[in-house]
């Protein structure tokens, strides 16, 4: 069976859930070969085995993570040349897409981004224009490079004993163009990360102020969810920009999305419309968000949200 390269997404050895999704997807179409770049492999290898990596290419050289994106693409390009994989899968995160883009140029291959499903022959499913259209596309030139949106595949464990191979690349000068001087990890607390969370609770204009976001956080914590915010809320300074869900913010596609005090402007819908189940609380019964919901409560969020939080805690 042909190998499929899967770029492991990790922060200093902590493997992101999307990696397990990609390994699961790769196994359905070939032999999953994980590509590890950077420090921390020893602590993560069991996880890659648990999700069925048949092989792991380990590139631990620190130089590969000291520059922005380019070295990773260079390593992948070399692996493609050496191993002739059937395809390369990367997470459709900001950096993952950039790696895919550079790799595509290097190996002169087509690239599909933000794929939400993969059929035979690497035909990718896309949800475009904010979820209004479902399209399928394929790569017609070179080795398919596919950037897969987090949360679009259910990760399935399938224990394996991966073969390990140390790999390295001598970086070109061009790949060393942008130095990473310092990595700043921002406190994210106990909550899951927004783009990979199974449940997201977001607050919008209706929340009315920064202090009131405590209501949203309480509800999120009762569900083990990530917190998001609409652009109106982040523009008003009530919640940090990095939590913005929407067209100019993050795209999320969780199992459950709870929109609190969010009207559902197109800006916001573009970032959350593909969520599997949508629940909204809003006092305006005409709010466009209600066109999307599986369950909607027309009411005052200051009454409804705390009651919902209490009820969830009681049921746990």
């Amino acid at each position: 069976m042909a190998e499929i390269l899967v770029l492991v997404d990790h922060v200093d050895g902590e493997v992101k859930k999307v990696t397990f999704e990609l390994l699961t997807l790769a196994r359905a179409h070939g032999e999953a070969a994980a590509v590890w770049i950077g420090p921390g492999y020893e602590g993560a290898k069991d996880k890659l085995a648990e999700y069925g990596a048949a092989k792991v290419y380990v590139a631990a050289d620190e130089e590969l993570t000291s520059y922005v994106v380019a070295p990773k693409a260079e390593l992948l390009a070399q692996l493609v040349a050496d191993k002739s994989p059937a395809a390369v899968l990367v997470p459709a995160t900001g950096e993952g897409k950039e790696i895919a883009g550079r790799l595509a140029v290097k190996i002169d291959s087509g690239v599909l981004t933000d794929v939400v499903g993969l059929a035979d022959d690497f035909v990718g499913e896309h949800s475009i224009f904010g979820g209004a259209i479902v399209s399928h596309a394929k790569v017609s030139k070179g080795t398919p490079i596919v950037a897969v949106r987090p949360n679009s595949t259910a990760p399935e464990a399938s224990p394996s004993t991966p073969e390990e191979e140390q790999v390295s690349v001598s970086l070109s000068d061009a790949a060393k163009g942008t130095h990473v001087v310092e990595k700043v990890v921002q406190e994210k607390g106990e909550r899951p990360e927004l783009t990979e969370a199974a449940i997201v609770v977001s607050g919008g204009r209706g929340v009315g102020g920064a202090d009131n976001f405590k209501l949203i956080e309480d509800l999120a914590d009762s569900l083990g969810a990530a917190v998001g915010a609409s652009r109106a809320a982040t523009d008003a300074g009530w919640y940090p920009h990095s939590f913005q869900v929407g067209q100019t913010g993050k795209t999320v596609s969780p199992q459950l999305y709870v929109a609190v005090g969010i009207s559902g402007a197109i800006q916001h819908r573009a970032g959350m419309q593909t969520s599997k189940t949508i629940v909204a609380i809003n006092k305006d019964s005409e709010a466009p968000i209600f066109e999307l919901v599986d369950y909607g409560v027309v009411g005052d969020l200051f009454q409804v949200a705390p009651q919902l939080t209490e009820e969830i805690k009681k049921r746990k």
Partner: protein, 259 residues
């Protein structure tokens, strides 16, 4: 400093966006065209850098006649001149071929800095800046929410999933910006009037030494197989809060096994 801002004309997200059934490319007639929102932040950043460092801001766009509207917007904001690459041969170009075409133009017109929005609101591939950097062989300073330029050195904050990276490079470089970087200015009346007199150079593929076989649908390395409207969501249940809205929502979540 020679700053080039790449802008893209995209269908307004507030109008209905469609693909054409024939060649499965974007139906540009179906929706109103507007400048890609994130590119406005790129224009603003270019103008800010020019104001501090001196130089000239050139707007570069690739697209049909209609894309001239986006050029005018950027010129009205304060850019000095524009280059509009427009040719039937370019219709249907994917990200890879678009990056090739723009690279040819950038080599022709020259640059110290290329700035663009981190993604477009239509295709949302988020790859163009990285591709341009790769093709041009210059540093990639992308997903920036803060950019400082001093002579030929550039320092930036690059947004990441865990926070941000502080990065450094030297010019020339390709920069992409996210929306929290600045607040784009509104064109003034004076700016709008002045924009009408600013030079816009129009280039066809041959003028920019773009190989027509490598762009458009012929040159695309990806192919749309099919598309259809997303199945409509089943109409959800909507209840009015009668003092028990929270409990009812909890019941719904329990029925779906979320709690």
């Amino acid at each position: 400093m020679n700053i080039v801002v790449c802008v893209k004309q995209v269908p307004d997200t507030a109008t209905e966006r469609k693909l054409k059934s024939g060649d499965k490319t974007l139906d540009r007639e179906a929706a109103d065209g507007v400048i890609n929102e994130l590119d406005e932040y790129a224009v603003e950043e270019a103008l800010t850098i020019k104001e501090a460092q001196g130089g000239e801001v050139t707007v570069l766009t690739m697209g049909p006649e209609k894309a001239a509207d986006s050029i005018r917007k950027a010129l009205a904001m304060g850019a000095d001149k524009a280059v509009h690459v427009s040719d039937e041969a370019l219709v249907g170009s994917d990200a890879l071929s678009t990056s090739y075409a723009l690279t040819q133009v950038l080599k022709k017109i020259g640059f110290d800095l290329v700035i663009l929005g981190s993604e477009s609101t239509d295709a949302r591939t988020g790859m163009l800046a990285a591709m341009l950097s790769e093709r041009l062989g210059v540093p990639q300073v992308t997903l920036a929410n803060k950019v400082e330029i001093d002579g030929t050195s550039i320092k930036a904050q690059r947004l990441t999933d865990y926070g941000f990276d502080r990065v450094e490079a030297t010019l020339p470089a390709v920069v992409s910006v996210v929306e929290k970087i600045n607040e784009p200015r509104y064109p003034s009346f004076k700016g709008i009037m002045a924009a009408k007199k600013k030079p816009v150079e129009k280039l066809a593929v041959a003028d920019a030494e773009i190989d027509a076989a490598l762009v458009g649908l012929t040159g695309a390395s990806t192919e749309v197989v099919d598309f259809a409207d997303a199945p409509p969501r089943e109409k959800g249940q909507i209840v009015k809060d009668e003092g028990d809205g929270g409990s009812k929502a909890a019941e719904f979540l329990a029925s779906k096994k979320f709690i």
